[in-house]
Symmetry: C2
Subunit: 334 residues, 2 copies
């Protein structure tokens, strides 16, 4: 099989690539070539695998690549929420135009490859006539409140139509907020969902901009990757005639995230989290799903992470890898 | 005010243009220029009005026009359902690319003009995990089953995002099936909703391809035009934070449509309708909304047509106009 991961240089994409290389096959067929298209080259371990082919640069420059005859595609590349809000045209180019170029390339190749699109829980948002329920379900009316969520929802429908026409065999999996992410805090409003765990574990103070009672659906990186692969391998019949589904989320309260941190790492680590309300971030988060249910994903055998403790333990285990900073667990080791 | 109607040469668009010229103002401001952009020139009566400016050709060639500083826009131009199914790329160009070019032109002008987008009840469709309810409401989850419906839904969300960013003041009004349309039967699966009334009134036999018990939400041309104008004039506040709404539909059974025809025109006219089931058309119609409710439109003071009899009477009155064929009511006059 010849597989493509767009955004395969990013955190979730590289993890997906590693998992696919380890697994060695998809739907029972061996993976011979794993193509990674991203703005930046993927981590060294991926570059070193003989099956990996790297395509660096904007997706909009990959017309020929997309039409080169893939058997399967994971489409993860995307400008993120904060970028899209700052640069409206960049968002449309990176998310909508790139997806269409990809779809038209796959269509041109003519073999109707299977395609998993990484959509997002950001398709949901409140509106005056239809406030968000406590749990967003597969049947909740999407009402995105960001350009990012808008693009994801538009692409879900575009992919459904290319699939209906037989040009691709597409499905859209809505990722929950993935945590704990490695690296530095970034400009994303959701950054603190990783920061309040990652920074204290490294012995660094972290600011929580919302109060303890905020709840949100989250997933560990490995759970998210497992979800993408499971949706890829699901039969059309198992998808049940509808092409977009919520991946499982663990619905967790910020206070319970911090209790889990204390349980795993002790009170001195937890005490590195300070509360300083940021009205801008709190306002954005107030428009996000407070929880999610995932009936259709459950029917495919997917499950949320069992606890936030297990999510923290996964991060601690990840930190053993050479690609993580040497002081990533400095707080834990004191 | 400088107003633009895209698709202003078509049946609903030209009727909207006439109504605006008659009304002379929108939201209390006089209409000084009414620009009509369409593939074909509008009817002669519109060409003759000194306020009308005509722009003939594809919307994709109207970059400068769109940025020329409109105060209000009615965006009706669209490739229809049948065209989009036959030519996938034409559909994307005509519906998605043209809408984006229009939005970017309006954004470039910088005055955030009010915009009404003519969306469609075709955004709704059944799927296995979420069958269509008896009445589709403003809160029904859209699941389009045609490229046309897909494009309409994508544009609704794109317009909502341009509005959220302050680039336009947009709203999307979902038109029900407009009947009775003049002219010849066309390739649209919905063509018979006009044909089974129009042809018998002209003394011509008409084939009904579905059975008497099929129900569907319909609106008269004047009701549809009134809906578009009312949505244009509604305040942002009255729109209630959500930008897409169902226009009112009269939920009517095919059998009751024919009874109304008999009531208005007599049994000999009704007998010109023959039933010959067409499995292709019946299959398409089975995926359509069987009825609609329109809570948000009702809150704006809009109402469905009072009866199908009144819809037929409106068509008979329309036939007095010089632009209608002389023998349009030949069946009635026998």
């Amino acid at each position: 099989m010849k597989i493509l991961i767009t955004g395969g240089g990013g955190f979730v994409g590289a993890r997906l690539a590693r998992q696919l290389l380890l697994k060695g096959q998809l739907t029972g067929q061996s993976i011979d070539e794993l193509h990674i298209a991203d703005l930046f080259p993927p981590p060294a371990d991926l570059m070193a695998d003989a099956r990996v082919r790297v395509h660096t640069g904007p997706l909009l420059a990959q017309t020929e690549l997309f039409a080169s005859g893939f058997d399967g595609v994971f489409h993860l590349a995307s400008a993120v929420s904060g970028e899209c809000e700052l640069d409206f045209d960049l968002g449309l180019r990176s998310n909508l135009d790139s997806t269409r170029l990809l779809l038209d390339g796959l269509r041109k190749a003519g073999n109707a490859p299977r395609l998993v699109f990484a959509s997002s829980v950001a398709v949901f948002g409140p509106d005056v006539s239809n406030p968000l329920p406590d749990l967003v379900t597969d049947n909740t009316l999407p009402s995105p409140q960001t350009s990012y969520g808008t693009h994801k929802l538009m692409c879900e429908h575009l992919i459904a139509d290319y699939t209906r026409k037989g040009f691709v065999d597409g499905r859209s999996a809505r990722l929950m907020t993935v945590t704990v992410r490695p690296g530095k805090p970034n400009g994303a409003a959701s950054s603190f969902f990783s920061g309040i765990i990652r920074e204290p574990l490294a012995g660094v103070e972290s600011i929580c901009p919302v109060d303890l009672n905020v709840t949100h659906p989250v997933a560990s990186p490995s759970n998210a990757v497992h979800g993408l692969i499971t949706v890829f391998e699901a039969s059309r019949q198992a998808m049940g005639g509808r092409l977009a589904l919520n991946l499982p989320g663990l619905n967790v309260r910020v206070g319970d995230m911090l209790q889990a941190l204390e349980d795993v790492a002790g009170p001195q680590v937890r005490q590195l989290v300070k509360f300083e309300r940021d009205e801008r971030i709190a306002g954005i988060v107030a428009n996000w799903a407070r929880g999610a249910s995932s009936e259709r994903a459950l029917a495919l055998g997917l499950r949320p992470d069992v606890s936030f403790t297990s999510i923290i333990e996964q991060y601690i285990q990840d930190c053993q890898q050479p690609s993580y900073p040497a002081d990533a667990l400095k707080g834990l080791k004191r």
